[in-house]
Symmetry: C2
Subunit: 199 residues, 2 copies
DNA sequence: AGTTGTGAACTTATTCACAGCC
DNA sequence: GGCTGTGAATAAGTTCACAACT
């Protein structure tokens, strides 16, 4: 669903009031029927013969995937990736914002990154009191599970995990993994064997 | 397959000479039968009653997915994400290395990042002559397609794309997308509705 | 006994194609 | 005429369960 939301964003910006499943689907590289099926799972949002009202559908999708309200997230790990994520603007259009920053390194604590002060990881305990239930985990593999446990204890229920491991979390906590090396390692398979072998 | 390779890496490091599909599968959070099926697509690698030889299987998987030789990649876009990727060490264990760096920004050109000199994007043309057939695209959305075209022209056949769009490339070029915002935007769906709504 | 490789059963996802609505 | 929503058909992926092997 988020991908449709982004597609709609594009059409809305272009000034289109309506869009067909054909147009919207092709903008995100899938078949129109697929998109209609996906939407139909949640209800009927279109008008036969006309299509979808871009703004209305966007609002409806936001409501379905709980992006109808802005949300704050915590970022743990202010290394290179963490800092890159702080400066990243791609979350804005989904109403997501990194509002708390944590690191273990004492030298980093107190420093400002994008107007957000790096806090001691030990102060992580009461995120839920600050209205934060989402977290991005950008720490080394060796620290990931330990910090995931702390996040769960702090009330976090959704984790975007960049560490190359399967976190163990309670049933009611959702983890989504992004494993950059793994994705990159898939590419050579599609190359002719031995092409570009170095050394 | 790359995920099994990583799992094997772990077992080899632990000093295990053999591993069963059960153990290996659970280390990567899948069912044993799934793993055996996946492997069986490429051949028979195990010994009934015994399991798999960790080193041998790793080498065989590397050969299957063309990771049996070290490979070089170009990184385009030396913004925050690009620099984070340069410092990232997760590629090493797959024999992948960023060996060329490009940016559009004249002020950045010539600067060293991790012992690699940032080159002018206009010098991108002959990557294949340098033995580079893989690229990581870490540039803003607006530049992504244009640079993808250049990469293809330069002989690149595999692209890891961080821009939130579907690149159009020739059939023989493989693109793998990593869309961080999209993945993050999936999380709130699993949260109770309106929990943590800010403002 | 322990484990693989695999056909068969099951589940899930995708695509087709068309009735019904605008 | 154009487009949606959806049942039916197809395809793809997963899991089971067991014969065959060490």
């Amino acid at each position: 669903m988020p991908v449709y939301l982004r597609g709609l964003h594009f059409f809305t910006e272009q000034g289109h009031k309506r869009v067909s499943s054909k147009k919207l689907a092709e903008s995100v590289n899938i078949k129109p029927a697929q998109m209609r099926k996906d939407l139909s799972y949640f209800g009927d949002f279109g008008t036969p013969g006309v299509g979808y009202d871009t703004k209305k559908l966007a609002e409806q999708i936001r409501s379905i995937i709980h992006l109808n309200v802005p949300r704050k997230a915590a970022l743990v790990g202010c290394g290179n990736l963490g800092q890159a994520l702080m400066k990243y603007t791609g979350f804005d259009s989904f109403g997501l914002k990194i509002a708390a920053l944590f690191d273990k390194d004492k030298r980093k604590i107190g420093r400002l990154v994008q107007n957000c002060k790096i806090e001691d990881i030990r102060k992580i305990s009461a995120l839920s009191k600050r209205g934060i239930f989402l977290a991005i985990l950008a720490v080394p593999l060796c620290a990931a599970q330990e910090i995931a446990d702390k996040l769960v204890q702090a009330g976090v229920q959704g984790i975007l995990n960049f560490a190359p491991c399967q976190l163990r979390v309670p049933r009611n906590t959702k983890v989504i993994n992004i494993d950059i090396a793994l994705d990159f390692a898939r590419l050579p398979y599609y190359l002719p064997k031995n092409i570009g072998a170095s050394e």
